[in-house]
Amino acid sequence: MGMKDAEFCADNSFTGNRRIKSWLRFFLFFAAIILLLALSMLIGPSGIGIPDSHSFSGSAIMSLRFSRLLMGMMTGAALSASGVVFQALLRNPLAEPYVLGVSGGAGLGATISILAGSGLFVSFGLPVVAFLSAVLTLMVVYGIASQGSSGHPSVYSLILSGVIVSSICSSVIMFLVSTASVEGMHNVIWWMLGSLQPVSYSQQLLSAVLIIGGLSGIWLLSPRLNALALGREVAHYQGLHADLLLVVGLLFATLLAATAVSLSGMIGFVGLIVPHVMRAFIGPDNRKLVPFAALGGGTFLVVCDALARTLLAPVEIPVGVVTALAGGPFFLIILQRRMKQAWIA
């Protein structure tokens, strides 16, 4: 599908040389993704290379690596795609799940259910609780930001109230953790640090369903997100249900972010930076950006996780540390060169 869209764009705006160049770029992108995913299957705390698949330990290692790869793909894709949508809807380069309080709200819901719940409830209910509390948080943020405006909050008041609500959420999480039992505290902190430690099979399955649903929903909206990039008013004049589009888009993006948080904890950076970097390479057209950012974000997180497991083996570095420490400088260099394509105003 992504290819088909690319073709349209090529017809429309590229000619000759540039067309070949853009095809070459897509080819390189996919090749890099396959290569990186394969590489990350080959490294781990047990060493580099393919372990003997006939031995019991060897096949266990491979299946562990594979399920971490799936966890990384799901989490990274969800975070990065939700960042794309938040940025497109709010037309602001700072918009992402953390800034709007969505991650904080999901985190608070997840903390409560980890502290209160038992095994089965946690594994199955966690994504649902996280989503509901994230939606609730978003509604609070939206409500606060709408005060005094004529129904439509400005982007700045949304971000301001998002940051405030987000920090309230994290304070409540701190408080809950500090009063929890030792075991509960251990569970929550382990989860909060962010890790791609595979969760139960049932939770993985549910999360996969939610994330695939969210990504498809966003992709269906993506042509309309382009029109919304000129503002709600212009989108309305062009014949779109602009307000409905905004609400549905926010809900899908929140679903993705909350599922990612419930799956892997608080992993920052991916939802903010990956969308910008992908936009720098393939442009702001959301029809292409959504699938590419999802692929790119997933792969980025998988690679970071492979590094996190291997670098100081047998000690595992929290993957959130690697995303920022390793990814930060790399992406900064890219953005410095192509800032204009990433975000122009």
């Binding site: 602001n92 382009n226 029109a227 975000w343 122009i344």
Partner: protein
């Protein structure tokens, strides 16, 4: 199709806490070229937003081709009505081609893949507006005028029956402005496209419009042909300044210009005016008098009164009394001193009660001392004194030769007339 393109029936509209449009009714026929004019903030943009169903009327109905705009499906509405906003912004690096393609967004399928009709319409509107060469450029990097042409191309790509332009041609250079107007006139003539142009260039609008809608403070003041609406008396009240309307000797079109000679004269007039105000009704008077170049004094005002604050901020000499107290003798004496030094005394639209009736007596003393006194009309509605004392006083004053005024424009005219005559006499 219904004959009337756009109809407003008793529409009041606005925002949560602020009503902007006040009971507006009008009709624009299919194929008309109409200019919507009026001062800043009079509700022109709100009218457009209401017509485009972006704002829901508080009361009344806005109709597109005979149907309530709020009942028309958005995609259909976009094929009937296109709006070129004052400014569009794209923070992301969309190219001009991508921006113009947005005009077809509601008619493209779910995947946003344009048909050949979509492609053709986009291509044609880009050629019309001379932006085809800019196709690969980033929209945000264009100049203001180029952006406006792209915005127009985007709206033309919608292929609407009505186009509303919200001051969208103001940033164009003279060459492209002529071109864009020519495009609009061609569409108007050949395709019967209805055009509603919000404009501040009255002369330009007069040369191209069939009809004018003149708005002021949310109300529709006058509609009619350019000749009917562009009358100095009507415009001067609405725009609150001196305007001149002339006919171009070659083309016969009407030309509206600010009376430039009155601008050149603005130097210190060496004329002093004493203003009797209170409760905030003096602020606009102070502003206008200072702009016109008069020396201004004011009083008696109570401290903390908003007029007193304004006088202090504007460096106007004022006689002040304690807050919430009746005016004492010292203050009266001081005010009389000021009146003696003044050439004229103006009474603003201040309400009178027992506490400030003294101010009105000051005016009558001024008249006795041979000063020109100008009274705001409509005192009956502002008289809160026992036994209508203020009304009686004012009636007496008018009989004794005080002048009445209603609009700021009228007041300024009277002032310059009487004071210049005085000057000639001396």
């Amino acid at each position: 199709m219904e004959q009337n393109a756009l109809t407003f029936r008793n529409v009041s509209s606005g925002y949560k806490h602020r009503k902007v449009l006040d009971n507006v009714s009008f009709t624009i026929g299919t194929g008309e070229f109409v200019s919507l004019i009026g001062p800043n903030g009079c509700g022109k943009s709100t009218l457009l937003k209401t017509a485009a169903a972006l704002l829901k009327p508080l009361s009344g109905v806005a109709e597109l081709f005979g149907r309530d705009v709020h009942c028309i499906k958005p995609a259909l509405r976009a094929s009937l009505l296109g709006v070129v906003p004052q400014k569009i912004e794209s923070p992301m690096a969309f190219t001009v081609g991508q921006i113009v393609m947005n005009g077809r967004i509601s008619s493209m399928g779910r995947w946003g893949i344009p048909s050949s009709l979509d492609q053709d319409l986009v291509e044609r509107s880009m050629i019309y507006t001379d932006v085809l060469g800019l196709r690969e450029r980033y929209f945000t990097e264009l100049s203001g005028g180029e952006q406006q042409r792209v915005a127009l191309a985007m709206v033309l790509a919608q292929d609407p029956k009505i186009i509303m332009l919200d001051e969208s041609i103001s940033h164009l250079d003279i060459n492209h402005r002529q071109e864009v107007l020519q495009i609009l006139m061609n569409l108007n003539r050949e395709k019967q496209m209805t055009i509603l142009l919000v404009s501040h260039d009255l002369t330009l609008s007069a040369s191209i419009s069939d009809r004018f809608l003149l708005m002021d403070s949310g109300k529709l003041i006058k509609t009619g042909t350019p000749a009917e609406v562009l009358q100095p008396r009507v415009l001067s009240t609405v725009y609150n300044c001196n305007l001149r309307v002339q006919q171009d000797p070659y083309t016969g079109y009407l030309q509206v210009s600010g009376a430039v000679d009155s601008l050149h004269r603005r130097k210190k007039l060496n004329r002093s005016i004493h203003v009797i105000a209170g409760g905030g009704c003096g602020i606009e008077l102070y502003r206008r008098l200072l702009i016109e170049g008069y020396e201004v004094t004011t009083g008696v005002l109570n401290r903390l009164d908003s007029d007193a604050e304004a006088a202090r901020a504007l460096n106007i000499k004022a006689v002040l009394e304690q807050p919430f107290s009746p005016v004492g003798n010292d203050a009266i004496a001081e005010a009389l001193q000021m009146i003696d030094n003044a050439d004229a005394v103006i009474l603003s639209q201040v309400p009178f009660g027992s506490g400030n009736l003294v101010n009105l007596e000051l005016a009558s003393k001024a008249l006795k001392r041979g000063k020109t006194v100008l009274l705001a009309k409509g005192i009956a509605d502002r008289d809160y004194t026992d036994g209508r004392a203020a009304l009686k006083l004012v009636t007496g004053l008018l009989k004794d030769g005080a002048l009445g005024w209603e609009s700021m424009q009228e007041l300024m005219l009277q002032l310059s007339n009487t004071l210049t005559t005085d000057f000639d006499d001396q």
